[in-house]
Subunit: 426 residues, 2 copies
């Protein structure tokens, strides 16, 4: 956009650029087209194909053309409720499930509808703050630390709330675990303690559990188990089902928040109307699950766990501050120990760090600042999905145990890129 | 929503209910489930199936799972540009095409991004005003009259603009033709005159031409032919391609409005991300067209034209004020001549009129007030699509000429419902 030109843009919009993940994705495409070798650790997309039975279901329902109800196809709302009941041991009622074109869009509707504050621990997903900016709202951030495993503790949350003069102002606290950008998750005690604080201060929790089924051990625990009356569970097809491009997200509400769901559905009916019909019919099969989908999940987790572990080891051994991943497909790298070394290259912030890595080595990471970390903190997100997911999944499926060197062979480029980072930092 | 309950809703949202078309659709479903006979003239959905080659394309691309660029799949943007170039004789550049999950959603992004006024002639599509309400904005209405064929004249537009103290304030004027709710369209001279006024006062035109390809004679004329530098053409798959439930809309911008497109794409990347990938790939085939799609369109138009003409005749002969339809599948009924008769039934406004018709005769219409007409005006929209589109299309295809009584036989329920209205009004 050429801003020297006469434009009539809303003041909230003038500062909104392409989202950093989308922007890096577009830039990487350009560099690739120019023939440059790129190690694309930027985009947060599942490397795996959509499971065959789900693709087959889409073909079967391809001719579905009717508008569906704004809240979603009843059979899908039922399947999603069943999914959370079985997988998360949380009692979800189909009447309180809302389907949207991506959980990102549902989050935006939530920000439009909700009168009150959004509170988010950082590092956090790149989208919460720009969405608030678009709407002229503010997001309150709670910064966590490397030492705390990038976790918000119940203590830190209590301190944040107690420092306010208005203890019970309407607030939504966003949790996201397994986490983007850190690949870490909360254990049962931590999550239970946070639930207790939320109940005490009457916080609404938006629990973004889109990576829940990609917990590397399949042991995801929803906070809704400990605070069912105040928790909205956010999920969707994008991550565990490999269907990011299909655009289907889900919110599961407690009964007491029906007013929020109903308002969001009204906004939906005035904006996107309803989610693509063939996709909703196909998604029923995904959320209902079954043996072949369980097998797909089991192998997806195993590959991500082993590969993530390998990446961690190499980076950790090189001196980068990092934790072993527990779910999803991200690592959050902290280059602070190399601050002096980097300063000699003129690097004092995460944006320059990532620009230099892309420029010098063709390595695409997302800078920590995009996740609302202080701009001078030398952190960045690495998404270890630049391998052929279909090939790797197919190779894994017949194997009881992955042999030594499996990921080295199947995900060669990933490992190569990781090593390039350690070479560059030396 | 139970508003006696404690809720934290944004003040702009508290008044937003389900959109009237969606609401009537939901209510009709309930009545049908209760076993009531309903003549559903409420929902504005194409009765025809998605053309077979387009459904086949969706099956072919069912496994596409990657996120696509926020502006849309390049091949689709090219196909849409080609579509407008060939069909509308307007030179559209693929670089200035934006793909969204329905043109309704794109309109919402436009309202978020644009700093300035939205001006809309009435009767207008039900959504513009609620979208503005959600965002805390205002829409300026220009009321048209039955005598002017529900058209906004260049003269009325000039008068509206000249009555303002700020002639050149940033404004978008929304045109929609063939029109929802009136089924009427502008002729070349009318549209040319409006284009001239728009140029003179530097208005941006949003030309909602979603029913363009359903002009009953296939003679739709885009205003972009006369004001290319200031016109955004809105279109999509929902109406001419029978794929409302697929959710794919398009905006074609002039080069000078690239700043608006870029901002909308940025908002897209922070909200719905991109449109469903398999749908975008399939849509390429729809917009590229070809013999079988042309044949589908030709038969669709013929059926809608003949059926619309029949409905018009019956209603007109009964004394209802109405014009013969020219495009799409709507009639806008004006019961003003029956005002005295209706007042005896306690009907003084369009909402009560529609409620009584649904209650007494099971006839679902949308009240004129939903289209921003004065609430006491006795008008309502009738959508003549309650027939089996697949069956009717199949029956039409081998016929050079529709025999006498074709629609009477194929669209029996539609005609029956129309006659019920005239019985009721007597």
């Amino acid at each position: 956009m050429n801003l020297s030109k006469h434009v009539s843009l809303d003041i909230n919009i003038r500062d909104i650029a392409m989202s950093p993940t989308m922007a890096i994705n577009d830039r990487v495409k350009v560099l690739k087209r120019e023939g440059k070798k790129i190690y694309d650790f930027g985009i947060g997309q599942s490397p795996f194909p959509v499971p065959t039975p789900v693709v087959d279901a889409l073909k079967l329902y391809a001719q579905e053309k009717d508008y569906l109800p704004a809240k979603g196809l009843p059979a899908l709302r039922e399947a999603v409720a069943g999914f959370h009941t079985i997988k998360d041991n949380v009692n979800v009622n189909p009447d309180y499930v809302l389907i949207g074109p991506g959980s990102k869009q549902l989050m935006f509707l939530l920000q439009i509808a909700f009168y009150g504050e959004i509170v988010v621990p950082t590092p956090c997903w790149v989208t919460y703050v720009p969405q608030a900016m678009i709407l002229g709202k503010k997001v309150r951030l709670i910064h966590t630390t490397f030492e705390d495993k990038w976790h918000m503790t119940a203590k830190a949350l209590t301190e944040f709330l107690e420092s306010e003069h208005d203890l019970y102002r309407p607030r939504i606290l966003v949790l996201n675990y397994p986490g983007n950008p850190d690949g870490l998750t909360y254990d049962k005690d931590e999550i239970k303690n946070i639930a207790d604080v939320a109940r005490k201060y009457e916080l609404i929790l938006l629990s973004d559990e889109i990576y829940g089924q990609l917990h590397h051990k399949g042991e995801h625990i929803s906070v809704a188990r400990f605070y069912p009356e105040g928790t909205i569970i956010s999920s969707g097809l994008s991550k565990w089902c490999g269907a990011g491009g299909w655009r289907l997200g889900t919110f599961a509400f407690p009964k007491d928040l029906d007013w929020l769901m109903d308002s969001m559905a009204s906004i939906a009916s005035e904006t996107y109307t309803s989610v693509c019909s063939p996709i909703q019919y196909a998604a029923v099969h995904a959320f209902k699950g079954g043996v072949s989908i369980e097998r797909y999940l089991w192998h997806s987790r195993r590959i991500l766990s082993v590969l993530g572990g390998e990446c961690y080891k190499i980076l950790h051994d090189a001196g980068i501050r990092i934790y072993p991943p527990e779910g999803g497909f991200y690592l959050f790298l902290d280059f602070t120990p190399f601050a002096e070394h980097l300063s000699k290259k003129g690097i004092y912030d995460s944006m320059t760090l990532c620009e230099q890595l892309l420029h010098e080595k063709g390595i695409a990471l997302i800078p920590g600042v995009a996740f609302e970390r202080p701009s001078t903190e030398l952190t960045a997100r690495l998404s270890y999905v630049n391998f052929n997911g279909t090939k790797t999944l197919t190779a894994s499926e017949p194997l009881d145990k992955l042999p030594e060197g499996f990921v080295m062979q199947m995900c060669e480029e990933t490992i190569e890129g990781i090593k390039m980072i350690t070479d560059w930092i030396k």
